[in-house]
């Protein structure tokens, strides 16, 4: 028998089913899973060469995460929402150290043409690299030469994904609101992930920069909050593991990855490997509200 007073509603809820607004990342686990998944998806993919390059990149991010050489902890104002957002961290250039080691680790692993790009990027001044990094974080992807963005983002992401869990542990979780951009670092999400935990069917948005997942109510547009004109699209099967949620109010969309139905899926890798679905929805006039760190398509 359950008494109404026992039904936990508040954030102080100790139940394992209680809703957690933020899920901190374990970067090493994420990179291992992602690298493995990219390798699997590369088999027989029209993007095989690119997915293999991305696999090497993620393996290099894993090396950075394992080395744990991230310098001093960033000084933050914890009274603000999105404490890691660019607004407060634009002067933080410690990630350039990650960039240099990432680029030198990648150099022997890539084809000659890509190695040329890496050498060009290494030769840029730290000021220029930092300025490009800030443009990317601001969502101004078209201000950065597209051949550099993949490596710049990977280094930025390795750096901020390292600090995000520490920041989350100091955040006032009760004050976290459902937002379109990451409540920790203010970046765009990669996609929606429908999880099995803390309870089956909850939707979390996965941050493209700091890898944090934050809760967002299902059947509500993650871009404009509209809940009246939503559709779910899928190939062949309405219950497919990968679907797209479109909103006819803002004409935006987010991909929905039902990882509870297939735990092998990984948000960044599977989003990238399912561009066929994106292209169909683009043709119908919808735009992505999400940013994949291994694609970095320009803003419209």
């Amino acid at each position: 028998m359950t008494f109404a007073s026992e039904i936990p509603l508040s954030l102080g809820d100790k139940s394992p089913l209680a809703l957690k607004p933020l899920l901190a990342a374990k970067p090493q686990d994420i990179y291992r899973h992602r690298a493995e998944r990219l390798e699997t998806l590369a088999e027989g993919s029209p993007l095989a060469d690119y997915l293999k390059l991305c696999r090497s990149l993620v393996a290099t991010q894993l090396k950075l995460a394992e080395a744990q050489e991230f310098g001093p902890a960033p000084e933050l104002d914890m009274t603000q929402p999105m404490p890691l957002s660019l607004q407060y961290t634009a002067d933080n250039h410690y990630w350039l150290v990650q960039l240099q080691s990432l680029l030198s680790d990648m150099l022997p692993l890539v084809p000659a043409a890509v190695a040329g790009v890496i050498r060009e990027l290494m030769a840029l001044t730290p000021e220029q690299q930092a300025a490009y990094g800030n443009s990317l974080r601001q969502g101004h992807l078209s201000d950065v030469p597209a051949q550099y963005s993949l490596f710049l983002w990977a280094a930025l992401s390795a750096y901020w994904a390292h600090w995000a869990p520490m920041v989350i542990s100091r955040m006032d979780i009760a004050a976290v609101k459902q937002t379109a951009l990451c409540p920790v670092c203010g970046s765009h999400p990669v996609a929606s992930v429908i999880r099995e935990e803390p309870r089956e069917g909850l939707r979390y948005l996965h941050c493209s920069l700091c890898e944090t997942q934050w809760h967002y109510v299902r059947a509500q547009c993650t871009n404009c909050d509209d809940a009246k004109q939503l559709s779910l699209w899928a190939f062949d099967d309405h219950q497919a593991n990968i679907r797209i949620e479109t909103c006819d109010h803002c004409h935006g969309y987010t991909k929905m990855l039902f990882v509870a139905k297939d735990p092998r899926m990984e948000v960044v890798a599977d989003d990238l490997a399912s561009l066929g679905l994106d292209s169909q929805l683009s043709d119908k006039g919808y735009s992505a509200t999400t940013l994949n760190p291994l694609l970095l398509a320009h803003e419209s």
Binding site: L53, A146, S149, L202, S231, Q239, S287, L296, A297, S300
Partner: protein, 193 residues
């Protein structure tokens, strides 16, 4: 400074993503591996009306074709965001989609005469008139205006009412007022089935 943006994800454009700029874009990247059929479902949040808990639901429906045609519900699941039911459904709730699409759903008033084994269809107008007439007959014959002590009670004990559970508070109070004003005592709802 943190501005939400839309991103262009399509095959057109030369160097508008990391893949294309690195020269690793394949023409087939945005193409489906084989001919898939793109399916669309409307996504709606609602509540289960079958008991007073009111569990949260997500419902998926499909347009049967044509601009003003009705949406046919083909899938219903528990709403994990609902603060009380948290995505769970009882067996009755889990079978909702079959109720909705059941061929045995009552869609119009029917009447079975005493002693007959046949149902006959009535118009709504006939049904309302018949119900009103029988209610009045029974109430005129059986209303208890005073009790044994001579106190006015206006009780109508020979007729009861089974109401819907799929109602808002407002229709609940309207139903209550209607039934109590007639002196009816036995009132219940299918929420308790």
């Amino acid at each position: 400074m943190n501005r939400r943006q839309f991103f262009k994800l399509c095959a057109a454009g030369a160097a508008t993503s990391a893949i294309s700029a690195l020269g690793l874009m394949s023409d087939k990247a945005y193409a489906a591996v084989r001919e898939f059929k793109l399916l669309r479902a409307k996504e709606t949040r609602n509540n289960c009306p079958y008991c007073s808990v009111g569990c949260g639901l997500l419902m998926y429906s499909q347009n049967s074709g044509g601009k003003n045609s009705e949406h046919a519900i083909f899938h219903i699941e528990g709403d994990s965001d609902h603060p009380v039911s948290r995505g769970a459904l009882c067996p009755k709730g889990a079978g909702l989609v079959d109720y909705v699409n059941s061929p045995h759903r009552l869609q119009y008033p029917e009447y079975r005469a005493p002693g007959s084994n046949k149902w006959q269809r009535l118009s709504w107008d006939e049904a309302f008139k018949r119900i009103a007439r029988l209610m009045k007959q029974d109430r005129d014959a059986n209303l208890l205006q005073k009790n044994a002590a001579g106190v006015t009670v206006n009780r109508w004990l020979t007729t009861g009412m089974m109401t819907s559970s799929g109602m808002s508070n407002e229709s609940g109070i309207a139903t209550q007022k209607f039934a109590r004003a007639l002196g009816m005592v036995a009132i219940d709802t299918i929420a308790r089935n």
